[in-house]
Symmetry: C2
Subunit: 236 residues, 2 copies
Amino acid sequence: MPAATCIASGRYEQMPCMDFQSCFSVWNKLTPRQQNWVLEQLQKRQVKKGTVLHNGSEDCTGLLLIKSGQLRAYMLSKEGREITLYRLFDRDLCLLSASCVMKGIQFDVTVKAEKDTEFWVIPAEVYRQLMEQSAAVANYTNEIMSARFSEVMWLMEQVLWRSMDRRMAAFLLEEAAIESTGRLNITHETIANHMGTHREVVTRMLRYFQGEGMVKLSRGVIELLDEQKLTALRDL
Amino acid sequence: MPAATCIASGRYEQMPCMDFQSCFSVWNKLTPRQQNWVLEQLQKRQVKKGTVLHNGSEDCTGLLLIKSGQLRAYMLSKEGREITLYRLFDRDLCLLSASCVMKGIQFDVTVKAEKDTEFWVIPAEVYRQLMEQSAAVANYTNEIMSARFSEVMWLMEQVLWRSMDRRMAAFLLEEAAIESTGRLNITHETIANHMGTHREVVTRMLRYFQGEGMVKLSRGVIELLDEQKLTALRDL
């Protein structure tokens, strides 16, 4: 779902968020008092590409609302293996960076900036109190949580039942849509970390794709030559 | 987490729920008016083992509270393959059977009775209105959703990074804990459907376990001979 849904809804091409109030969906459902309190407590931050914003259960920053930029939420195994769970773009909310105030959450994710990112933080404790006071905020939280849960379920289906070639085609097309280019600057190692697999598997698959005329490989670059063929493979 | 957590918390050995009020955690946070309304709308149902209670997006029964019995929530691929996402026992709530009123849920699960089961149903529309009116109900819903999300994340980790032998050991030990017996009446096909794999893989693995003296296989029965060795393998 995510890949197709995101492209269809133009999620990658969203406009940056100009002010917090207009991008925080439940703003108008807060009381004036709650609104003032949130504005008082709100923090604005800017981070460079590569910054880790949230690291499992080690920290509990709060709820992040992205003004502009791109975050990646991923799972990390004890052995250091990774898989991307979902990406967050302009106007998206990062909920799991406030997981300490979400009762029932018993897993860790890591959140890292994939591009320079500007965002607002509602401190975790402030958000917890808002949820407690306001059914609207609680239901909104639920909606975001359900959306992330849905993305993970989609991923689970892919990992379990979809062959690696179709997943690779989907990944390359998604990446091209995010970057708005068919010329991807990405290493095989990075792709392996996104897909939860080994670098060798990625290299072998990309060479096969090259043999089929779908991509052209050069140092640090993958060029998509035949998006139609890749799409057909993805949607098989 | 689930396997260990469940056993540790004695979740399998919970007492049946005597009345709805005492098992529905947020009952005391409802207004008298809401309480009366819920009691008026509440339905009580009994189903036989094997009954499908919820089938993806085809129906939207509502929220189920289990009085006694056992449900299995699983994902079904287009090709008919299955994987167990989680099980529900006495006093547990089944939320995804009301997924139509959970905004943001974009996936289907199937819920089937694994034992004869008695439960209460809060119709979906009633529950939706309760969530809208009450921050307590909305936050409680969030907590349940987060718990199920956590179980799926745990499963994802298993599927991605844990070898089949360790997953099999974990499955057999969990099953023995649920059934309170080391003599399991279960087919290889059923195990394959729980674990999201093929029957042949299960058979091969069980034969290997038998060779190692961990289990004894006979028609339709798997006997756990060395729980200590199985536990060591699981916790490796």
